[in-house]
Symmetry: C2
Subunit: 249 residues, 2 copies
Amino acid sequence: MIIFGFSNINMSTNPTVEVCFSPRLYGHKLTDTKFITVVVDILRATTSICAAFDHGVKEIIPVSGLDEAKKMKNNGYFVACERNGEILDFADFGNSASDFIRDDLKGRSVVFSTTNGTKTINMARDADEVVIGSFANIKALADYLAEKNENVVIFCAAWKSLFNLEDSVFAGALSEMLIGHGFSTNCDSVLGAIDLWHRAKPDLKNYLSKSSHRNRLNHLVSEEDFNYTVTLNSTKVIPVLNGDKLELV
Amino acid sequence: MIIFGFSNINMSTNPTVEVCFSPRLYGHKLTDTKFITVVVDILRATTSICAAFDHGVKEIIPVSGLDEAKKMKNNGYFVACERNGEILDFADFGNSASDFIRDDLKGRSVVFSTTNGTKTINMARDADEVVIGSFANIKALADYLAEKNENVVIFCAAWKSLFNLEDSVFAGALSEMLIGHGFSTNCDSVLGAIDLWHRAKPDLKNYLSKSSHRNRLNHLVSEEDFNYTVTLNSTKVIPVLNGDKLELV
């Protein structure tokens, strides 16, 4: 796999899996080697995106800037927008999974802007395909990627570009599933992430409760939302980036 | 702790410990909050620096550039220099621990330039103190830092700026010792690194044998050197940066 900034030098014909723990570690595509990037922001953007599609939202438009989000609001869109975990006053709602479980969103377009998640989605656009991962859709996603049979980079949104436990543990879980599907790796981040997943797996909720980001969001994330976040395989949706929009496969 | 780029927001009076997995994640000092940076490049620069001091080298001059290393060689210094794990032709020797166990180096100055290690040492100069860590001096280092009672950042040299297992596992081991000494943390990298250390601890040599960097260096690192690398507490030396030179405390 010839992607600048990644370590994978595996020469087998199996597709490879790599993990990137932070946007500051994300590389750039230099050749025409195809790869799929899985964007991960467990607390909370990518978990909420999966929840939104699972409850009937038609499409999600990720935007990085607040000005753009405000403009879309003025153009009549529903706008989900937070910074540092708090809903902004001009927005219709924030980025909790439960915010998207509303009947009036079924079949609608939603504009989405968050601290880390949408920035990461936009950074990932150099990939041949960008898909959204969370514990909610992890098995369906692993099956989808196995069928695609292309190299995969799991891109953790992190917290203000710093390593975080929840994204890393998810990356380990997905990596392990892909290796089970025959993917290969020569990436220490994959090996480390899988070991963290093994530590977390027996009691994922309790393990992620110790993460600094969970503590940072403690007053903002309800027990219900956190339970949803740490529950595996509640949906089979596969959100993919198509131009400027996230849509279902 | 008010260091841009780090996550620690602990307000207790205990000193804090943080881990930085890559030079791309290293922040900058914005205030006069004091902190000590521990530079870690387990394979192989910081392990070899500890070996060198343990065997009587008087001082080590870390230089990043090859031109500077060549100039120092022409000025009569012993020069240890590698790139991508291989000794350069103008150098006297490379950066294996065993390279420094020579009687003719006792009491001498050595110029040292490596792929990742010396770059990281030079990046760390904004700290109030820069010290060198490896498994060889880990307990002595933890005791030294506990006595200093200042905030600590453990700075992994990584491999070409990418996360690696060996530096991260060391960071976890040292973090755990410091927390045992009363240090506090609110940094997910510390928590993740400690969990990796717990996975590695029962058989450190075997665990680190799976790292991609170990495999990359497999033809260059002898069994003897690797055994030295994964052996804890073979020395009590504490190399610190003093101006342009590393010296013993």
